[in-house]
């Protein structure tokens, strides 16, 4: 028979398990991004840095990008709930990096009915009302030095019309910032990956980003998209998720 003490202990263990599950899911995506980053460093320093890179140099990234998308040839050592998360992935060049294109994305998206699809965007800031990517947090974070950025959840009205997270890391080549490696994860799929662990926690439990936006939750009172503003409230305890910009919030007790 359970005493209140052992119940509290069980809640604690479940919370620790949920943190581990969230870390695993996010780290799986960041692992793919580190691969993209390393491959991009080679692409943007053609001939060992002897000439400036051009857009065509980035085409060498494609086999890796396609393989890391949902439905691609994902690494066998990762669990299934981690490998099916990535809906879009690519390298975003720092403006002015490439000799032949001031703005450039090598960005690919999953395609449920066939081969991955390249995102094509008008990259001329003079004619496009929308696509100066340096303003977006997934670019601004890494470009200002953040090692790992989790942007969102946000409504991605430019690419997918989905409620999404974008995870990103900086790409530094030859000592200078060359761009960003990033991946899109739909919130509904991230929830699918972590909800089984959140559900085990007795009482309300939800995952928030660095600003307090709820990413996934086991309760309708704190559903994804709402904001947890009770910083320092005694009613909840907050656990960091490793060194990721995410925290698990649970009822205190």
């Amino acid at each position: 028979m359970s005493t209140p003490v052992s119940l509290a202990q069980a809640g604690h263990d479940h919370a620790a398990a949920a943190v581990a599950r969230v870390r695993e899911a996010a780290e799986g995506v960041f692992e793919a991004l580190r691969e993209v980053r390393d491959a991009a460093v080679a692409c943007v320093r053609p001939a060992g840095g002897a000439r400036r890179p051009v857009a065509a140099d980035l085409a060498a990234l494609r086999p890796l990008l396609w393989a890391r998308l949902r439905g691609g040839a994902l690494p066998a050592h990762l669990p299934a709930h981690v490998t099916a998360l990535i809906a879009g992935i690519g390298f975003i060049a720092a403006p002015g990096l490439l000799a032949d294109a001031p703005w450039y994305l090598e960005w690919w998206q999953e395609n449920p009915s066939g081969a991955p699809v390249r995102l094509l965007r008008n990259m001329d800031p003079a004619s496009s009302a929308f696509y100066d990517y340096t303003h977006w947090d997934w670019y601004a974070g890494p470009s200002s030095g953040a090692e790992r950025t989790v942007c969102g959840p946000y409504v991605d009205y430019l690419c997918t019309d989905e409620y999404s997270l974008t995870l990103s890391v900086p790409v530094v080549a030859g000592g200078s910032f060359a761009g960003v490696a990033a991946a899109d994860v739909f919130v509904r799929r991230f929830e699918g990956a972590v909800l089984p662990a959140l559900r085990e926690i007795p009482g309300p439990a939800f995952l928030v980003n660095a600003e307090g936006r709820v990413v996934a939750s086991n309760t309708a009172s704190w559903v994804a998209g709402s904001v947890y503003r009770d910083g320092g409230s005694a009613a909840f305890s907050v656990r960091p998720v490793g060194d990721l910009p995410l925290s698990l919030v649970t009822a205190a007790g």
Binding site: P112, S127, A129, F130, Y157, E211
Partner: protein, 250 residues
């Protein structure tokens, strides 16, 4: 036999699919999500992404070509490119609506814009709001120096695109993908008409004040005020449009 039930199980009309594709792409072009000159993915890719057959997609592209919204070039470097229509004469379009239809458009739009603004006030964080303040500053710059945009017509077109972007950014701050999609759809439908009373840059100050009132209420987290000013913004624009329509002779 119940005819309505029979209709449910009859084959889906392929023209409905073509229309849906035309609608989706035309909306995106009209509000600038697909920019003038932008290359569309190949037919096979686009069909795959939209979940329709290539035959359906080709029919839709043909319709868009006829409307002047897509241009197809052959040969090396060829493909389908977005064309911003010179001007789908909005006054001619306005004539096709009766005043009560415009009123109804306004009612629907006010419901979407009002709810989006209320949810944005309740849910948005400072980082969600940075883009929309930037858009408002850009609008003020264009209005203050229309010559810098090239011509008054170009300044007006830029203001209209920025106005659309502001409202989409407010909708996205609501965290609702569906409300954002509906905002984009409504803008494509009646955005150019609602903008008609502003041709020639008149009334920018009043519009700018309303935009800042919406953004301010959202930033303060005042949901009811955000809803009220966003609804007022749409209903004022609708009222101006109805006045204009009633003065148009057949």
């Amino acid at each position: 036999m119940n005819m309505a039930r029979l209709a449910v199980f009859s084959p889906v009309d392929s023209t409905a699919r073509v229309d849906a594709v035309v609608r989706r792409l035309a909306d995106a072009i009209a509000v600038g999500l697909l920019a003038d000159g932008e290359q569309l993915p190949s037919e096979a890719e686009l069909a795959g992404r939209l979940g329709v057959s290539t035959v359906t997609l080709r029919e839709a592209l043909m319709a868009l070509r006829q409307q002047g919204m897509v241009e197809t070039r052959r040969g090396r470097g060829g493909g389908s490119f977005v064309r911003l229509p010179a001007e789908l004469d909005p006054l001619a379009r306005l004539r096709t609506f009766a005043a009560d239809e415009l009123r109804d458009f306004g009612d629907h739009y006010a419901a979407i814009a009002g709810t989006a603004a209320r949810l944005a006030a309740e849910r948005s964080l400072p980082s969600d709001l940075a883009p929309l303040w930037r858009t408002l500053d850009e609008m003020d710059e264009v209005a203050a120096a229309p010559r810098a945009a090239g011509s008054p017509g170009e300044a007006c077109a830029r203001l209209r695109r920025l106005d659309g972007r502001f409202h989409i950014e407010v909708a996205a701050a609501s965290q609702s993908a569906r409300l954002t999609q509906e905002e984009i759809r409504l803008q494509a439908d009646i955005g150019p008409l609602l903008w008609l009373p502003h041709e020639g840059l008149s009334g920018h100050d009043e519009t700018a004040a309303q935009h800042r009132a919406i953004a301010g209420a959202v930033r303060r987290g005042d949901g009811e005020q955000a809803r009220a000013v966003a609804e007022r913004h749409v209903l004022d624009a609708t009222r101006h449009l109805i006045e204009l329509r009633l003065r148009l002779r057949e």
